[in-house]
Structures are given as C-alpha cells and as structure tokens.
Amino acid sequence: MTTTANVAIAPESRRGSPVPTGAMIMTRFMELRKRRGLMIALLAVNIGIPTIFLAVRLIAHAVAPHSYGPAGGYSIFETLIAGVMYIFGFIVAATLGCTAGSVDLTEGVFRHLVVTGRSRLALYFARIPAGLMIIVPVVAVGVIMVCTVCVVAAPTKLNFDGINNLPAGLSRQGFVSWAEQHPGDAICDMGYRYKGPPSASYVNCGPNNEIIVVTNQAGSTTATKATKSEARAQAIRSANQNFSAYGTTFLSPPLKLMIDTGLWVELWAIIGFLIGLGLSSLMGQRTLPVVLLIVYEIILTPLFSRVGIPHLINAQRGLVGLAMAHIEPAGLPAVFGGGNGGGSNQLVTESTTVAVIVIVAWIVVWTALGAWRMAKRDA
C-alpha cells in the first residue's frame, strides 16, 4: 500500500451546478418514454379518445348523413376540448409528473444518482424539460387533430337554438334583420327573457308556433294573434338579447379560438405535470399524490369554484383550477360551470391579474417544494 491519492478530476466543473446537462435531460426523457403503460394512458386520453370519438362520427355521418350530423364543427370542438382534453389531460399530465418525481426513489435508483456527485437539484430539474418534452407534443397533437377534424368536417349550416336556416357570421345588424324576417324562429326558438317591471301584455310563442299577444287583465289572461309589427318588434328584442350567444356560435371554431384553446390546454397540462412532480417529490411516492390530484381536479376544484364560502373566499381564489377557468378563452363553454365562455358566469369572482399570480405561484411553489425535498432527503 504505497500509493497515494491525488485524485483525477474531470475537466467538467459543473457537477455542483443545479443546471442539468442535455444528456441528463435526454436520458430522463428516455426513462419516462419507456414506461409503456403510462405512455399508453397519456396517448389514449389526449389522442386516442378524441380520435375514436371523431372517427365514429365521421363513419356514422358518411353512412347515414340524415340521421347523424357532421363529425366536426364548433359544438364538437367545445365538447372535446372542455369536456375531455382539459380535465383528463390534467390528470394524465399530473400522473406523469408524479411518476417523474418519485420513481427514482421508489425504484432505488436515486442513491445511485446521488453518489455520482451530481447536484441533487440538477437531478430534479432534469425531470422538468424531460417530462414537458412528452406532455407538450402529445397535447399539441391531440388538439391539432381535434381542430383539424372540427374544421374539415364542420356542418355547412349553423344550428343555433334549434334554428337550422340561420346564416353563420352575421353582424348584429344582420342578425337583427334576419330575426325581423323570421319572427317565428326568433321568438319561438331563441326565446326572450323579460327583465322589466310587470307588464299587462307581452308577445310570446303560442301553440303551433303562432305569435300571440298575452294580456293579463282583472285576473284573467287572454291571448290574441300578434300583428306583424308586434311580432317584428319582439323578434328584434329577442335578436338583440341573443346576439352575444350567437356571436360565439360558429360552424367551425375560429383560428384564434383554436390557438388560444390549444395554449390554454397546454398550460393546464404543464401545470398538472409540475404540481405532480413537486408533490410526489415532496411525498416520496406516486400513488397518493395521483389520488390527491384526481380528487382535486374532479371534486374540489368544481365545488370550490362555484360555491362561494364567505369566510374562505380568498382561499378559494387561490385555487389554480379557478384561476385557469378565469383565463379560459372566450368562446368555450365554461369549465366547472363558469368561465368567460358561452355559459353563465357562476364562478367565484377573481380578476385576471390575480388569476395569473395564482397560476405562477402554484408553478413556483410546487417546483420549489419538490426541489427542496429532493435536496434534503436521505437517499
């Protein structure tokens, strides 16, 4: 034993740096990508389910066009994006995040990585781009596929409140003019919600779609056929009241809406991944964080986004799901029963600035918590 340690040190001097190398990111990407079950779930939710749904509709419409409507169009876009991809995309992204954050620990590889001398923060941060390299393209492919089918296979006629002969893309003036010319459709199908003081008489839709004037006098109600001018005036009122809903009804989703929606769904998936990564790194396991995030997404967020609890209202405003609902692109149906879309706004109120702050805070806090725990935990 006559040798002396005078150690060979690699020229690389970044081992203590929290910034991961490209090789670390790529190998971490490979490790996640090779998880077959997880990848199948990710692809099934983001691409498979929309694909099957649209394929069935395409085939059904091709076989029996009178019985089955077009496969695409605006309403299908709304349903798939807000109903499936937004909610389930979050869950799958969170599951991927939970996997990325915990498998090194649960599979006993973390200690092998730590004894390389590489910064634990670098080991943690390598998982973020690696996971996003999977999530972002998969969600993008799903959204692009849905958008493509919804545009290409859109209906040729607009269906608005059951009206099939209404042209698409009318201005308010054009919409009102169309209603004047079709008072039956305007009054009977669009409807009109009277908001004024109690009135002795009003124009309404009678039996067999006949336009009638209903008069309340001395406790008795009488109905007489409306004159053309009375019907036209009521149709104009109805058109004005329904124009905002008409304005967000399209044959196919507009390009801007598709882009905004794609970015919105991507953001939500990224948030889901980062929360999952941070939470699972904090807890050191995968199953419980996945369950917690599903409960959060499916139960807690819808509940606390709609029901305002006076003493907890500010805590509710801290929910990232509520914040995301507030920045939902106009033109989509409201997620969780609220939002800026076509539905009535029932969300707990929150300014856009606060919503953005909440989103950034969730990303930063969960990432920091996960990194802190990975740096401090026993390996």
Binding site: T3, N6, A8, A10, S13, T116, G117, R118, D378
Partner: protein, 325 residues
Amino acid sequence: MSVIAVDESPTVRARESDWAVETHNLTKRFGASVAVNGVDLKVPVGCAFGYLGPNGAGKTTLIRVLLGLTHADAGSMSLLGYEVPRHRDVALARVGAIVDEPRFHAHLTGRQNLQILAAAREPAARGRIGPSLERVGMSTRADDRVAKYSMGMRQRLGVAACLLGDPQLLILDEPMNGLDPGGMHDMREMIRSFVAEGRTVVLSSHLLDEVERTCDAVAIVDRGNIIRQGPIAELLSGSDMELMIECSDPDAARQLLAAANLGGHADVSMDGLTISLAAGSDRAVVAEINRILVESGNLVYRLELNKASLESWFLEVTTRLGAPE
C-alpha cells in the same frame, strides 16, 4: 511512492493523502439510537479493505454518510483527500459505490440504466459503458430488460455502474449477496484486479471467509463503534494458535507437556490433544513438543498447527455475531 493522479481540478486540488477514506469522530444518530458512534476510520490507498460487523452494527449507515446519502451529526471525513461534504461533488467524481442491493429501473435494459447514470457523471462516462459491461461479463445481456436479470446479474451491473466514473475508490456494500459460488469467485477476482490497477476497494460484508480471501486490511465494527482495524495479517498475529496432536497416550502427553511449562494450555478431547499456544509463539515450540513426546515413548501420529482464522478472531472481538437486526 506511485501516484494515481491523472489530472487535477482547476478549482479544488486534492491534497496528497495516504488514505482513501478518513473519518474523525464521525457520528450518526437516529433519534436516541447511535448508528455510527465517533468512528475514526482510515482506509489506506490502493488496498482492498473489509468493513466487517454483525447485522445492525452500522456498516451501511457509515457508507451512506460517507457518500452523502444522509448527513452526519458530528465529526469530519474525507474521500480521496477531499473533505466531504464540502467538496462532495469533486470527491465523488472518482468514487463508485453500491449501497444496499443494486437496484435499477426494471423496465429499462442494463445499458439504458447505465446511460442514465453516465449522464449524471462527466461526458467521458458514456464512453465507458461498453467497457464496463464487458469487464463485469454483462455485454451479452446488456440489452435485456433489468426485470429479467437475476440477483447476481444485478450485482454485476451494479459494479459496472461503479466503473463508469473510472473510480479511484470503490465502495461495495455486500457485493457477494445473491451470488453463486462461481459468481463469488468472479467477484473476488474482479476486486483483486481493481486493487492491482491501483484502485482502493472498501468492501462491507458479513461473509468473513470471502473478506479474508479478498481483503488486505479490515475494520471490525460493532454497535456503531470500530473495535479493531488494520492489516489482516497484523490483526491475526495477535491471536492464539492451536496445536492439534494425535498420539498414542494423550493423557500422559498432557501431563508431560504441562510439566514442561511451554506456555500453552493443554486439553484432551475425543479428537485428541489440543494445545493453545500464546500469540506470537515460535514454530520451534512445535518442534520441542514433538521431541518431548517422542523421547517419552508416546507415539505421535499427527501434529497440526491451526492459525486463527478471521472468523474465529471476529467471534473473539465481537459480541453479537448473527444477532437479529
């Protein structure tokens, strides 16, 4: 004095040290229990060093503290001359280690697992994947999923992982676990070859026979304390020897040797006469015993001198061999 140095860090220069591992008063507690109790350990550079102890003695805990897998509560330590945890990243650049059993991502192949570990090391580590796999005899199975590997193959893959950093120090925690006799032989040969290349190997094990065959020096740990440490030959030289005598009249021989006052203690058993000789007894004593017996007319059929084995010495100095964890 040969120097293993290849190059030096531009920022942190290793001081020349005769010790690959050096600890002073190293202590690690888990609540009220002390797993590592003021350990002063010195592992010489360029040897195979056995770290022995009963189950629960604190062997793995010490290794985990050395590698920064858990923090020490008190004391100081250095690896390859670098203070850790202060220069942990630089020190570990040339350390390879298996702690507990080697575990890998089961859904990936052996090669892919090594790619992940190599990526965490310096860029040159990627080029060592193939040679490392070849060295441990895993080249042909490197592209199979780890889920299909036996325990022995995982151990070998673990050693391959250690070699990615071209380590000057290898710390192997129970590397013989799960290996069949052939695998143990291969592992022993591999460890000796590492030492022959100038690397230092710290081997934690409870397989005393394997350690005795493989290592140059040992430390015995019990209840978190190091009881003895040093070169095996030196440690065993302080142990008693036994002389087995098969002769025609053992009882007469015992009385005769007791009267001759040769410094040993004689016992007669079914197997014959056994004489315990004090540590350091000269071989001439054996010849003298033989002469006395022959001259007294006692027929001597066999004389066998048994030096103390590591196992018997271990049993002497520890109190809890085989105690449950």
